[in-house]
Symmetry: C3
Subunit: 136 residues, 3 copies
């Protein structure tokens, strides 16, 4: 059985942000065993799983992604929505639009050092909509 519900994230600034606690606060009554898919309904932000402890990881993740996909490349043709827009699209596919996480003992079975990241690639984004699917 699949249950689906929405989460609205408030606006975050450009960068990588730990949202595990925010997500878990919406996950009441998880099944004993199952699978969660968290899906972002946008193409200039992404979700990924990475280190949950040292904030310097998130700083470096953002800087590496900016270096990999620079703004204002001379070959870009999709330039109407600002310098951050086309890189944001490519980065969103690099990181991915959803994460899938097992549920055990009615909890997200993340590893000790794993957290869920929102990757915000726009300079001035609004809030982001997530869809949470719980498969039992």
């Amino acid at each position: 059985m699949t249950e689906i519900f929405d989460i609205s994230l408030p606006p975050f600034e450009r960068g990588f942000h730990l949202i595990t606690t925010h997500i878990e606060s919406h996950l009441d009554n998880l099944p004993e065993n199952g699978l969660v898919n968290i899906f972002i309904q946008h193409t200039s932000a992404a979700l990924t799983i990475n280190e949950n402890y040292d904030p310097s990881v998130r700083v470096d993740m953002n800087n590496i992604s900016d270096k990999l996909v620079p703004e204002d490349e001379s070959f870009y043709t999709h330039t109407m929505e600002g310098s951050d827009d086309m890189p944001a699209h490519f980065k969103s596919s690099l990181m991915g639009s959803s994460v899938t996480i097992p549920i055990r003992n009615s909890r997200l079975a993340l590893g000790t050092w794993q957290g869920i990241y929102l990757c915000e690639f726009r300079n001035r984004a609004g809030g982001r909509r997530l869809l949470i699917s719980v498969i039992s």
Copy 2:
């Protein structure tokens, strides 16, 4: 319950291609709520979700991926199948071999601007086989 079926895509030229309509035309009788996984059975093409409106995004996505993973690097050892082959393998892992999308109200719950892309990384590929899994 999981239902699985095949889709054969016709050959596409190298580049990023919007295939949402093609996929949806095979998705009759979706459950009210559920999850779809679309899986490509190849290692030199990929699936991703990105902007569904402006074709310039697909052009730039392709050019960025070509710049990130250039052909004919002197350190490549897997060179027997042509200059496009090894970059195609790496790009397929960068973009991913499947996408997972929630189903709501018996429809793919994509965001307003989201579409499903086939990323074709070979110069002269044949058709591609997809497996669609519908979890209800």
Copy 3:
């Protein structure tokens, strides 16, 4: 219905490693149709699907990822755990923490040339824990 179980992988050296046979040896009694999610509980290694035949692909995959995310960039701030650590975190998000694969006829429905890779990004990693979720 979702069934979940653990697999412990032995330590692998830095690089890309084919683990399909290892995974399949733990997959007895798969349902006729279904979906498997394989999830790695670590943030400096990853899972992906790629070419299962020519070992030179795995060599080049590793070298391309090292070139894309070099060690010792002057802008890195997360440097306490060694030169390989911050690149390992970024690469793990590039490749992804899980793969999802359809089950048909009680077998993983991989394409002819597809295999499951462990991407080990640390120089001296220990064993890695995987969670396998089988949805029927």
